[in-house]
Symmetry: C2
């Protein structure tokens, strides 16, 4: 059996500008390699408190129930929905991309009655449509939507939605996987009841944890369920007893090293400051889009609804996207993403998230795209996209 | 908000001899800090293949479906049960500790019909009782049991159980969280259909992944379900398409750094060789138990059913266990575990798992216990437990 032993791992250094994971800060990598404490060690419990405090700061919430779920962003999605929804509950899900569709799938698995509001991939849901659905379908248990749709690059406006839901006694569930730490989520300001994210996007931590916060109203809904949550692993009423100071009841073994990494990643976010960080994401995205326009790549989402963290652009007419993306990976060691579902073959998704969002990375990916496109025979003005990006930085 | 920023993390070095996490090898810690590849990068997919190969070697199975679930051991338990059980399926669960009870809880959440076979905490289930239940309750979809009960230190014999189940068209589901890599599990030899583990026990990797293997028969049961698996995150029919060579369909973002860590941990296991590793675990456990006997601590499980990886012993008569355990943590920087449920206050659980299972750790914990017990006023012969342990090593 020893013949199965793999050789030493040798990986190529990659610039991760895809839809995630994003580049991880060296300080976070170092934190991942710290020898472990036990998951019930008083020192580790203090670390959990610090992580909770910092998560509250990044979510911009006072919610006591603010934790990191022991799984990736999709585990956060499932925890959010499975804990809130009981069989027969009516849930409005806004679907304008892969992740809205995933929410709809999970609502069905939870026995919820799904009300699906659709928009084209790249568009967002008008507030009036949500309002109309809340009225028509009353009573509705929850409205679930994706703030930052990673598959389309569209940003769903959140202002006013929480109040709209609460006026109809519904809860608001928001997927902030590709926004938290990169653009404002503002849980309390928008009266969001359940908000979750992933660590591997704008927080620039490895994938493996899902930050999650519940308003007191949402927590009350979990605590007053008539049926057990169908998932034991993600049962928040039990997990709450592990994260709650003073209780610390064993539920499952916390992923200690991932918590170390998240702690350091959150420190870096807060040292920079949210406003500065958001401005950095906006600025680098603007420079990238200016450069991409020179290469014939137009944004997939409408102006005013474009994510600075995930730049989804149409590939230039007549260009086969796969070989270009492959050339970036092999020649320039840069990862960008292709399209999913109806956008497969039609878009590139270029993430500028957390440690990925810096001018040198914008210039690197533009240069690599220029080079790869020129090889396909397409006429590209050498340095044209770089000049456009630099123009944005100079302005 | 920046006032929430936590200070630099300063942790005490701990010798982790509790029920997990176990000490992590420096090579594994180093692997955790390697800069990340994307989860769909060809290089990362090759790494996944290598992890699968090495997991098969450690599980001692040829099962093509052998993966690491993106969650801790409990996520492995839930994945095993939620994918196999459909509403109304009858499942026999052997309950002789915390983890059997957890399985029973999950069966209920999956809508299964629970047949609970109980044994006292520290005892194991006689094969005749399982056989009798299979006959009485036919048709039974599955028998689920814990190979290494972390809460009691008891090892459930596995020989013959697979055949017994298959004769009655039932599947055998085995929890090997505290055995895989420390004592023989032998999935194929015992005809186990579903076996899962955790990374933070005898594999000496940080917590966060659950190795899982399914026999072709079990996979067929998953694929021929009439209803969707209630968990999207743990839906193995979809996860299989990500791990399957040639398909690699995106499901959720793999926890890249944890996979790096597991890969290195598995290399270390296979470099040592399973037989040598198992012998090491047995030898160190024997030395520890010899020393503990000198301190008045008798094993909780009967002879022949004691786990070498998790030594659960009764605390000496008249000694309050909490302060002793606390003294070990603060004075000797050694973590050991207390009892759970009916064993709370009555036992210590001393893990000698993976990198924890070495003579110097046995001597360290015995010396620390001698010292702490002497402080409680109990008569302890100085060096007596150490001499007993050394005697085992000398024999």
């Amino acid at each position: 059996m020893a013949s199965s032993t793999a050789p030493e791992m040798k990986t190529t250094s990659r610039l991760l500008l895809g839809p995630g994971p994003s580049p991880v800060h060296p300080r976070v990598l170092r934190a991942m390699s710290i020898p472990l404490l036990g998951h019930l060690d008083p020192q580790f419990l203090a670390i959990m408190n610090e992580v909770q405090d910092m998560l509250r700061a990044v979510f911009e919430t006072e919610n006591p129930f603010t934790i990191a779920v022991s799984g990736t962003g999709s585990a956060g999605m499932e925890a959010a929905l499975a804990n809130l929804i009981e069989p027969g509950d009516k849930v409005i899900v806004c679907v304008n991309g892969v992740f809205g569709a995933r929410m709809a799938d999970i609502v069905g698995r939870c026995g919820g009655t799904l009300v699906r509001l659709e928009a084209a991939w790249g568009e967002v849901l008008a507030q009036e449509r949500i309002e109309e659905a809340l009225r028509r379908e009353a009573p509705v248990k929850a409205v679930a939507l994706v703030h930052a749709e990673t598959s389309t690059g569209a940003e769903q406006p959140l202002a006013g939605l929480g109040q709209l839901c609460h006026d109809r006694s519904a809860l608001l569930i928001v997927d902030a996987v590709t926004s938290l730490g990169g653009l404002p989520v503002q849980v309390d300001r928008h009266a969001i009841d359940v908000c979750y994210s992933g660590t591997q996007k704008c927080l620039s931590c490895p994938p493996g944890l899902a930050p999650l916060t519940l308003s007191p109203r949402a927590l009350e809904a979990v605590r007053s369920r008539k049926t057990k949550v169908q998932s034991w692993y993600l049962d928040l009423s039990m997990i709450a007893d592990y994260w709650a100071e003073g209780k610390r009841a064993y539920h499952h073994t916390a992923p200690v090293s991932m918590i170390y990494g998240l702690r350091e990643a959150l420190r870096i976010v807060l040292e920079e400051g949210l406003e500065r960080r958001f401005a950095r994401h906006r600025r680098n995205s603007a420079a990238l889009l200016a450069g991409l326009a020179q290469l014939g790549c137009e944004p997939n989402a409408a102006e005013g609804h474009r994510l600075p963290s995930l730049n989804c652009v149409k590939t230039p007419p007549g260009v086969e996207e796969g070989p270009v993306r492959q050339a970036l990976l092999t020649d320039a060691r840069i990862e960008i993403g292709g399209g999913l579902g109806p956008l497969a073959g039609k878009v590139w998704r270029i993430g500028l998230m957390g440690e990925g969002s810096w001018p040198e990375h914008v210039l690197a990916v533009l240069f690599a795209l220029e080079t790869a496109l020129a090889k396909t025979g397409r006429r590209v003005k050498p340095g044209g996209s770089l000049a456009a990006a630099v123009g944005v930085y100079a302005s």
